[in-house]
Symmetry: C2
Subunit: 328 residues, 2 copies
C-alpha cells in the first residue's frame, strides 16, 4: 500500500508543499479506519513513553517509591524544560537519593521561553534536568532502584531496558525488528504503525489485570496533568486541555502522534513520512475532530490546522489544509 | 511524472523518514538531467532573488545609486540579520535618504546568534533591518527611487513589482499562473521547476546584451560575497565558500535550492515537496558533488549530508542518505 497525502500547505491559491504519511485508528479488535499503509514499520520515538512506563508500575517500583499521579504523567512526558518540570524531576531524584549526574539523557536547551532566556542571558549551560525526557529517565531510575541494576540504565541489555522491551513487544503484539538510539540515548524499538495503534487501543480498553490497571493509571495521569506531559504552548498540552481531559495524546520526534480515547474505546497512531511536526500536529487535530472528541470551532483547531498562515507584517499568506480524503 | 525519493533519514539500520521532491539540471538548450517531475509548478520563494534584482541593474538604478558589488550580493540575500547585514542595509537606505520605516518587509528575530542574543537579553525588539530580505527590499527601494513610484512598493501593481514580474516571466520563459505573498510581503510568482532551472542556466550562460551583463554582475556578486548572501553557519555561505567562488547557490523557503555554474554552463533547481530545509540542504550538497563542483571530502559535505546524526550525549543515532537513484 502507498503513503497517503495528508496535509497540504497552500499559498496564493496554489499548492506549495505536501506532507504524506500513514494513519491508523484501532479498537480492541483491530483496525477500524486507516489512511496510507498501517503495516509500515516506524520508530514510535517519544510517542510510546506510556508503554515504556508500564514496567515502572507493574514491577511495584512506582508504589514502592510512592510516586504521585503527577510524577507518572512526567514519566510519560516530552516536557518543555520549564521550572515546573525541572524542579519536579530534581525533587523526584532526591527522594531516590540521586542527583542530576545520575541521569543518562544528556542536556539540551529547554523549549520553555522563560527558562531558555534565563539560561541564554546568564550564560548558563542547560543541565540534564532540562532534557525533555528527564521525567522518563527519572522513571527508569525508579525502576532501576527496584531492580537493583547498575548505573548505565540506557544500555539495551540493562534490566530496565529489557523490561521496557518486553512490555513493548507484549503490548504491540509484535517482535520488534530492532532498536535505534533515541535523542535521550535510550533504545527505541520499532514496530508497525498498526502495532502502535493497537497498543493505544489496549490503553483505551484496559483490562482488570495488573497490566490493565497500569495502563489505566498512566492514561489518567496524562489526561489529568496535561501541563506535565509537554508544557505551555505545546500541542499535546493544548489539545488535551481542549478535550477537557477526555483523551490522552502524545507526540514523538519525526512527526509521530498517538491518542488514547477511553470513552470511545479507540486508540490511534500516525506518522508523517517526512518527519515534519507542523504536519503531525495538523493531522492529529484533523483526526481528533473527525473522531468527534475535539470541537471543530476550538481555538486549538485554528492554531494547528485551520488558521490562516500570516507573515511578519500579519498579512495572510496561505493556509494548511487536509488533503482530499483525509479525513473522509 | 511522479515525485522522486531524494533524501532518507536512517536510525538503527532502519529507514525512519523520507523526503521526496523534484530536481532539474539545465544547460542553455534545456533540461540535461532530472529527478521527479520538472513540469511541476512551484513557488521559488527567495531562490529567485537574483531574478528579482535584474530590473535594479537593467533600469540603470543600481549604477545611478553607485551600488557596490557587495550591495548587489545583499540584494540577492536571505541574510542572518548579523551586524554586517543590518549595518550595510541601514547605510544603503541612508544614501537614498530613507530609513528603516520605509521598508515593507516586516520584522523578525535574526538567525545570527550574537545579534539574537543581544536583542533577547536587552529585551529589544528586532526591526525591519533584521528581516532576512531587507537587502532585497533596499534594492526595491533603489529601483523605486529611479522609477519615481509610491511608497507601497510591495503592492503587485506597483511599478517595482511590475518590473520584477516582467523580468521573471521573460527569464523563465513562462507566463506565471499567479503569485503568493512571501514572508517579506513581496509578491512571489510561481513557475515550473524547469522554468526555474532554465533561468539558472541563463545566468550561467549570460549573453553580451543588457540582460546578460546584469546576470553576470549578480552571479559574480553572489559568489564573491558569500557572507552577504546568507551568513555564518548557513548553507549558502558555507557551500559557496567550499566551492571557492566557482558557483552561486541560493536557497528559498519551503526547501527550494538553485545553483548557477558558469564554468560548466549549467543551472539547476530543486524543490523538496514537504518543505524541509534539512532535505534541500542535503540534496543540493549531493547534486553539487554529482556535478563535480564540490569535493566529496569537503567538510560541507559532512555537515549537510554524510555526517552521522548524533544525540545530546554525542552518541551516533543515524544518518542522512541519498535515496537510490539520486544522484545516479
Amino acid at each position: 500500500m502507498q503513503t497517503a497525502e495528508l496535509i497540504e500547505l497552500w499559498r496564493g491559491g496554489q499548492l506549495e508543499s505536501l506532507h504524506r504519511g500513514h494513519v491508523v485508528v484501532c479498537d480492541s479488535r483491530g483496525v477500524v479506519e486507516a489512511w496510507g499503509d498501517p503495516s509500515r514499520t516506524i520508530f514510535p520515538r517519544s510517542s510510546c513513553k506510556m508503554m515504556q512506563a508500564l514496567p515502572l508500575i507493574e514491577s511495584g517500583a512506582a508504589d514502592a517509591a510512592g510516586l504521585t499521579e503527577r510524577q507518572l504523567a512526567l514519566a510519560c512526558a516530552s516536557h518543555n524544560g520549564a521550572k515546573i518540570h525541572t524542579e519536579a524531576v530534581e525533587s523526584w531524584l532526591s527522594t531516590l537519593g540521586l542527583e542530576e549526574p545520575d541521569l543518562r539523557c544528556g542536556s539540551h536547551m529547554p523549549q520553555d521561553s522563560d527558562e531558555n532566556r534565563r539560561l541564554t542571558c546568564s550564560d548558563s549551560a542547560p543541565c540534564q534536568l532540562h532534557n525533555n525526557c528527564s521525567g522518563k529517565h527519572a522513571g527508569f531510575l525508579t525502576l532501576n532502584r527496584h531492580l537493583r541494576g547498575g548505573p548505565e540504565y540506557v544500555d539495551p541489555s540493562h534490566p530496565v531496558q529489557r523490561a521496557v522491551k518486553a512490555a513493548f513487544e507484549e503490548v504491540t503484539g509484535e517482535t520488534s525488528p530492532g532498536y535505534g538510539i533515541d535523542g535521550c540515548s535510550a533504545p527505541n524499538w520499532s514496530c508497525t504503525l498498526e502495532g502502535l495503534g493497537r497498543s493505544m487501543a489496549a490503553f483505551a480498553n484496559p483490562g482488570s489485570d495488573r497490566r490493565g490497571q497500569a495502563m489505566r493509571r498512566l492514561t489518567d495521569a496524562m489526561r489529568r496533568h496535561p501541563e506535565m506531559v509537554a508544557g505551555e504552548g505545546r500541542a499535546c498540552t493544548i489539545l488535551m486541555r481542549a478535550m477537557g481531559g477526555q483523551v490522552a495524546v502524545k507526540t514523538g520526534a519525526e512527526a509521530v502522534f498517538v491518542g488514547i480515547l477511553p470513552e470511545q474505546g479507540l486508540g490511534f497512531a500516525l506518522k508523517i513520512s517526512d518527519g515534519a511536526t507542523r504536519a503531525s500536529e495538523a493531522a492529529v487535530t484533523a483526526l481528533l475532530v473527525h473522531l468527534g472528541v475535539l470541537d471543530k470551532d476550538d481555538p486549538a483547531v485554528t492554531q494547528f490546522l485551520t488558521g490562516k498562515q500570516k507573515n511578519w507584517r500579519g498579512l495572510v499568506t496561505g493556509e494548511l489544509r487536509t488533503a482530499k480524503g483525509f479525513p473522509n
